[in-house]
Symmetry: C2
Subunit: 190 residues, 2 copies
DNA sequence: CCATTAACGCATCGATCACTGCGAGAATCA
DNA sequence: TGATTCTCGCAGTGATCGATGCGTTAATGG
């Protein structure tokens, strides 16, 4: 794998076993609380209690709920995605869009995105988009190197990324595979 | 100052002068707090204090911050928009998209949208989209009645509405008029 | 114009939150 | 391995939140 996962955003001077364990427990507690129907207020004492960690630790490591959510969203949207490289831009985009749709369909993801952009502002929003721009650019540059007429990053963002996020966040319609594939088809007509 | 903004008899059995005045003050306080850089926690006592109203009133009328935000977002996204009717679908969509872009560029709007979908969940999200689907459908039906080949509501949503919302909420790029017009051009090529 | 009643102001209470020293335990480096 | 220091657990505190009971004000209908 070419893209090695970034070290903890917290200037980790000691990412030892215990710290990593606590970090994982807190992240898991946040995701569980977000998916739980019990409308618990998602506050630091609640997160800490569910994670089996003392609230002081969470306050010191993350400081606020916004930074905690940003951290969770960052690690959620940075590691999993693998940029396809099939030799065809259409195929690449279809796979990429399908992966993104699958990701956004995950029951954990939608509440996380909503809470993050609602609590963490600009920083949280950019954490939710992750590195999609760079990933798109990689696919487009490969296609351009093949000598094809390649759309811009902006165009692909508007035609593929934006509808996926919009439909997931603002509507209750499902992100079906057919609809997702249709986005690429509308962008790249035969 | 007598800003009679046409108090609509939204809900309640007694929409008298005082209730409307309080409602307007609370709405205004929410918007001010959302735009203020002072990261005040946007809680009911804070909103009530800034509105010059006692917190008990806000608790009883709205119940929670989520419902309050949903109410603010609903009245923010329901009244202002006028569906264009120029006789040309392209012209209609360009005006509609331009109005929407102007609306989303308002410094009040972005924090309101983010906070609403982050706090009020599905209900808040649908409040932020308002009645766009019906408005789109009205324009499309008129175009279809003219005997043209009209795109579907879904297609227009994906091509115009979604990029506007996505760019406003998730990125820090500006919603320029040229880019907004380009969305319609990509949807309706000559 | 007056009775009715919905809506608001006020005082208050328990629960929880955000935060802070201080000591103990674990990870890192010599 | 031993010393250092980064990190976590613990107990406690002021502040604020969410909610309730009661009296008062004002909007509504006859």
């Amino acid at each position: 794998m070419s893209t090695r996962a970034a070290p903890p955003p917290h200037t980790g001077s000691r990412p030892g076993g215990r710290s990593a364990r606590i970090r994982a427990a807190v992240h898991r507690a946040v995701e569980e609380l977000l998916t739980d129907e019990a409308d618990e207020p998602l506050t630091i004492p609640v997160v800490a209690a569910r994670a089996g960690v003392h609230a002081t630790t969470v306050y010191r490591r993350w400081g606020s709920v916004g930074e905690l959510l940003t951290d969770v969203a960052t690690s959620r949207f940075s590691g999993d995605i693998v940029v396809p490289d099939t030799g065809s831009l259409r195929e690449d985009l279809e796979r990429y869009a399908s992966d993104l749709a699958k990701d956004l369909n995950d029951p954990d993801t939608l509440p996380l995105v909503r809470a993050t952009i609602g609590t963490a502002g600009d920083q949280g929003a950019s954490a939710c988009t992750g590195e999609r721009r760079q990933q798109l650019q990689a696919m487009l540059e490969r296609d351009q190197a093949r000598g094809n007429q390649t759309p811009t990053v902006e165009r692909v963002t508007d035609a593929v990324i934006a509808p996926l996020y919009y439909r997931a966040v603002f509507t209750d319609q499902a992100l079906t595979p057919e609809w997702t594939r249709g986005l690429v088809t509308n962008l790249l007509p035969d």
